[in-house]
């Protein structure tokens, strides 16, 4: 088994592998900066909850029209945006703290979503909605993913400065230019869009993987925001490529394989600060 046949041939021989790879790359490019900002805002769990919030809508779409991607996506977008609005209203007017209502959204979404899918479909259908089918991405699905990724990138580029300021000093943004809640809403909207793009590839359980894991790994290596974004994108791409290869050679489901390789990237990265501490301790014990 040559290097070529291991690393390249799966993609040169099979169109579905190429489509899956392009989808992973597009998701990585959009999710890198978005996930970086999400983590800088200390909103990692919000990303996770939103990825489940997409589920009831996607499930309704599934119940109405089978696994037609357009319907799934529109449905997911609908409930995702609805939950964003509820969250914003809830924190402004509700008596509950944000984390309590987030937990409620999380479980309600999964419960309702699984119920709806089970009413109409089989366990296999349920697995597809939950875990995605990145190897079944066709051209229209690819176009949708790349289009969403482009929109996310373009909007992020337009409002990156205020989003960055808001993520650590929202009061300053409000006293110097306003638009506070508008930026917050747009940002959460972008997160939902990105999750919807990842829906077919990763399902509602894993849609948050490209968003959160590469960005979390990047934080172990980089201090500045530019390198953080670049590394997040790079890690996302690497995890997508490695996961697809593993899925091909080991004959395992592709979405979970990508999730695992992203988790490995994160685990290795998390050891970096630890190794620095060890090295420093080692240096300190050496006689000078």
């Amino acid at each position: 088994m040559s290097l070529w046949s291991t690393l390249v041939a799966p993609f040169s021989e099979f169109a579905f592998m190429r489509s899956a790879l392009v989808a992973c790359m597009a998701l990585a490019v959009a999710s890198g900066p978005l996930g970086t900002l999400l983590l800088l805002r200390r909103m990692g769990l919000v990303g996770d909850v939103l990825s489940h919030a997409v589920m009831p809508g996607a499930a309704v779409g599934f119940a109405l029209a089978g696994s037609a991607l357009a319907v799934l996506s529109v449905g997911g977008l609908f409930t995702g945006i609805a939950v964003v609005l509820l969250m914003i209203l809830g924190t402004r007017f509700g008596a509950q703290r944000e984390d309590a209502s987030l937990a409620a959204f999380y479980f309600a979404s999964i419960g309702v979503g699984v119920l709806i899918v089970s009413l109409r479909g089989t366990n296999l259908d349920l697995m597809h909605v939950l875990l995605g089918t990145v190897l079944a991405i066709d051209v229209p699905a690819l176009v949708l993913i790349v289009a969403i990724a482009s929109v996310v990138l373009a909007v992020l580029a337009l409002i990156f400065r205020p989003l960055a300021i808001q993520s650590f000093d929202p009061a300053f943004l409000r006293t110097t230019g306003g638009g506070d809640s508008a930026y917050r809403t747009i940002f959460l909207g972008l997160v939902v869009l990105d999750l919807v793009a990842g829906l077919q590839a990763f399902g509602t359980l894993l849609a948050g993987v490209p968003l959160l894991l590469p960005a979390a790994a990047a934080r172990c290596w980089a201090q500045r925001i530019g390198p953080l974004v670049g590394l997040s994108i790079g890690f996302g791409m690497a995890a997508g490529y490695a996961g697809l290869l593993a899925s091909y050679h080991l004959n395992v489901p592709s979405g979970p394989a990508i999730a695992c390789s992203a988790a490995i990237v994160y685990a290795v990265s998390a050891l970096v600060p630890a190794s620095r501490v060890l090295l420093t301790a080692f240096d300190a014990t050496r006689p000078t």
């Binding site: 205020p162 650590f168 000093d169 009061a171 201090q223 925001i225």
Partner: protein, 265 residues
């Protein structure tokens, strides 16, 4: 993305500076059921330097929030004359409202003061860097310009916040407990900056605790205990009776010791 008239530096800024006047009319601010500031009326005149004094929970922060536009009045109004809202204000919050782990250098943090004039898409003007460096020099942080914000001590971080206010070049400066939990050297340095802003004709409003600082530096005082107990010249506002009413002194026999401090000449 500012109009040329605002961008052409010194001249227009100086004209800005003398006009920041804040008028409160029967201002009442409440969070849900709890009234934090009640029926306060008065004027922070253009170019004045006013201390807001009161016990914990007296509404000092709320009043500053209301003036800065962070919270809407329940009743009454705040009228700000002579400045355009986002450009004319610099608000320095109690620093625990800022996430200091954000990956930004001290120099970049100071340069954020120029953000309102640049906007989301505007080109960063080359002189912003030198203005930010000058501001860092003024607060004694120029040697730490390249450090990350999270590496600063509490006192250094407060200095960085002041540098950002300098870069904002605002006509109205609002400071919330700027000297809390910093050492004497830092608070002296920062107090000198406040006096410098006053000298430049900016309208400066500071919430603070230390009555000796108030008596020594601040010509005017608003004594707050949800309502305005007194508002005017510091010497006339901080009478023993008023301090008792504001909950800042025990009912005295004769004038309390603090009040025999030398007044600024």
């Amino acid at each position: 993305m500012t109009e040329p008239s605002k961008r052409d530096a010194a001249g227009s800024r100086l004209r800005d500076v003398r006009r920041g006047c804040v008028t409160l009319r029967e201002l009442t601010v409440a969070y849900r059921e709890r009234v934090a500031v009640e029926a306060v009326s008065g004027v922070f005149a253009a170019g004045s330097l006013t201390a807001i004094v009161g016990a914990n929970g007296a509404g000092k922060t709320t009043l500053l929030h209301a003036i800065a536009g962070l919270v809407a009045p329940r009743r009454g109004s705040i009228e700000i004359a002579g400045v355009e809202a986002p450009l004319g204000f610099a608000y320095l919050p109690q620093s625990d409202s800022i996430d200091r782990d954000f990956p930004i250098s001290v120099l970049e943090f100071a340069a954020l003061g120029g953000w309102a004039r640049i906007g989301a898409l505007g080109r960063v003007p080359p002189e912003l860097r030198s203005r930010s460096m000058n501001a860092l020099q003024a607060v004694g942080l120029d040697e730490l310009a390249g450090r990350m914000l999270g590496e600063l001590s509490v006192g250094q971080f407060r200095r960085a916040l002041f540098a950002r206010v300098i870069v904002q070049e605002a006509a109205i400066v609002l400071l919330d407990e700027p000297f809390a939990s910093v050492d004497a050297a830092t608070s002296d340095d920062l107090l000198r900056l406040v006096q410098r802003w006053h000298g430049e004709g900016r309208t400066v409003i500071v919430a603070l605790h230390d009555l000796e600082q108030v008596l020594a530096i601040f010509p005017e005082t608003l004594l707050l205990a949800r309502k305005a107990i007194a508002w005017g010249e510091t010497a006339t506002a901080l009478t023993p009776e008023n301090l008792v009413e504001a909950g800042l002194a025990a009912p005295p026999r004769g004038p309390g010791p603090r009040l025999r401090l030398a007044m600024p000449s």
